[in-house]
Point group: C2
């Protein structure tokens, strides 16, 4: 059961972007597993990919294509990651891009491939190509929610988000979809996210705005510390809204960036809310650090601790495990005798020791809700960082022990 | 159920070392929870402690005492870690050392305190002191197994090991006990280990031999990546065997070191075999690395991956998860297209791709045993490292979600 998350009721169309889905029957029967997203000529695009050195074939090919041209189409399949498939898997991705390009009458390298699912299996190229052909016939402006559903793997809900912002007098739409619920950690995850906007972004701003938003969203979530082989996040900007270009640092740029950050944070948090086996949605906010990097290191060390995560699952205010994780975080400076800890507003530790008014009953009450806010104040500086994570439950083990069977 | 582990039938007495146990009723009812180990005047000692900055009170005090004198007595309790207890907890440890010193007629700073168990609870000083007094009356040469039992927390079996080696014509005995089964990771763990020998070690060799043995044993195991606040490993050398001092680099030193390494590796592996919820004992051997550090980084990244660990629990030869973990290991040099992988001798990957003769059935067969050997060949250098770990099971979650309740 996802924590405080429902499917979006509707996602706003983005002028210049079309999508459609179809059923290739790769792994999941009974639902669409291929999505096609296309965009107008002249669309500006940026993407970030997994830093895992074991990149899947589609990631390798998408990187190559993106270096040559701005994309006109994204082909996404779930059910098979096309990773660990060697040269043959790379040629499978090539074949699918070629099939899509022929149908869409665009260049081969204007198609970016994305795959998510089981590692080590080959893609059924014929079936996927046929599904892509079917998608071409069904392209429409209102296919976002269907696309969000088609790219799901162990996700229990489709994830999407739309915002409109006023930038320079023009209304701009930002719509994004994402998938992912395990193998999630900073530097992306088993996570695919596709965000489109009709904003007319300056050429040098597309990549920059994407990277800033990713840094505050997808790079701030973790479920199990595992980085996947297939992570990708793409931003498409069709430029159909307004005449003036939006650049970084301007008032319009600020407005757009806020909207983009909000969409990406909502998508990132949705992934954690739907994390495999999650029963808690946990915000870990570390303040009082000397550097933002140290704050993030402490937050991630706490977020990755299996002992903290099982205590969260048990709604057990076992603050010793939190403090032990803080104590082993790989940071330069840390004075354990200054550390303050609050859980959902309840003071637990003051200067490294139990707060005077803290009681076990108060701890139990603080840990009861499904939404947990852990505030850790290192009290040695003025920098902070926030990370979102989930708990470690029986269902996490069940889902990952049964995934292939 | 521990994996391939039974309680030792008997542990050899070490001339010059006595021990006894008693019941303070700290947390576990119905069994002894305090152990006292004493050694002759003139014993040379060394110890290594947790690197967690959040050190428990007994660790702080033991470090201080060890800097002042060689110890005459170790007081160990289970059931309460005396961690996160601030100044009051430190004074509790002081009180217990004072009580032991008075009874044993040794100096206060010749007593080292050790605690393991729940973080954040105060020690019942009166009860522990009374149990220590009882121990003093019962000191004997053959109390090792009882001591191993008294220091257990979530351990399901007592852990101990004895070896005799011939060093310089003299027979030397090495006996060790250890506890620990969760919060285990390199740089020690929720782990206490006490090793004694009658070898006459040169003064500068006691610490050196201990550190070498720890580096190849307790620093090579991981259960959940969590470093505890209370880890300690102590070596006592009474010098009662033989006349000549044993120093590093000598033939006698080599013989002794081999024996010490073997005892400590057996204890370390016993901790993993009895890891919380373990159903598999997993050896991860990484070879072909440029440096031993890189080899260890890769091995630990694989060993810590929750996805690899749940696949091990499921006996699922999900090699994609192993390769994905290798791909994200924080090492300088790695060529994923050269990586070879064998599971229990079965070739799975050759040069980053499925081995020609690999089948799913062969993978299933390779993963079936409780003892799993994962060989990862990076094929870019000639350095290697071996790490021991366990799987991630429902019982790991259950044990850690229920620990305090």
């Amino acid at each position: 059961m996802p924590v405080g998350l429902a499917e979006p009721e509707a996602l706003l169309a983005v002028p210049g972007v079309l999508s459609a889905t179809a059923r290739a029957g790769i792994r999941q029967r009974g639902r669409d597993d291929v999505a096609l997203i296309t965009c107008d000529a002249g669309t500006r695009a940026a993407a970030v990919f997994t830093r895992n050195r074991f990149s899947a074939a589609p990631v390798v090919l998408a990187r190559e294509h993106l270096a040559q041209a701005s994309p006109r189409a994204l082909v996404v399949n779930s059910g098979c990651a096309n990773a660990g498939t060697g040269r043959a898997g790379y040629m499978d991705a090539v074949a699918i891009c070629k099939a899509a390009a022929a149908r869409l009458r665009v260049q081969f390298h204007e198609v970016l491939p994305f795959s998510t699912g089981v590692i080590g299996s080959r893609l059924p190229v014929e079936k996927v190509s046929a599904a892509v052909a079917e998608c071409v016939d069904g392209l429409n402006e209102n296919g976002w929610l269907a696309a969000a559903r088609a790219i799901m793997t162990t996700d229990t809900l489709a994830k999407g988000c739309s915002r409109t912002v006023i930038a320079g007098g023009d209304q701009v739409t930002i719509t994004g979809i994402a998938k992912g619920s395990g193998m999630i950690r900073p530097d992306l995850a088993t996570m695919l996210a596709f965000v489109a906007t009709d904003a007319k972004l300056a050429p040098d701003y597309v990549d920059r705005s994407l990277r800033q938003a990713v840094d505050l969203s997808f790079n701030r979530i973790t479920v199990d510390g595992d980085t996947s082989t297939n992570d990708a996040c793409v931003l498409l900007a069709t430029g159909r809204a307004g005449e003036a270009e939006i650049g970084p640092g301007s008032v319009q740029g600020e407005a757009f960036q806020q909207g983009l950050d909000a969409v990406m944070q909502e998508l990132a948090q949705a992934i954690v809310r739907d994390a495999e086996g999650a029963t808690k949605f946990v915000t870990i906010e570390v303040s009082g650090a000397n550097t933002a990097e140290d704050a993030a290191e402490v937050a991630f060390t706490v977020a990755h601790s299996p002992l903290v995560k099982t205590a969260l699952f048990a709604s057990d205010a076992n603050w010793g495990r939190i403090l032990a994780a803080v104590g082993r975080a790989p940071v330069q400076q840390l004075d354990i005798d200054r550390v303050g800890l609050r859980i959902n507003g309840q003071a637990v530790l003051v200067q490294g020791q139990p707060a005077p008014d803290y009681t076990e009953a108060a701890g139990v009450a603080a840990m009861a809700p499904a939404e947990i806010h852990i505030d850790i104040d290192l009290a040695i500086g003025d920098r902070s960082a926030t990370v979102w994570t989930s708990d470690l439950s029986f269902d996490y083990v069940r889902i990952n022990a049964e995934y292939r069977t």
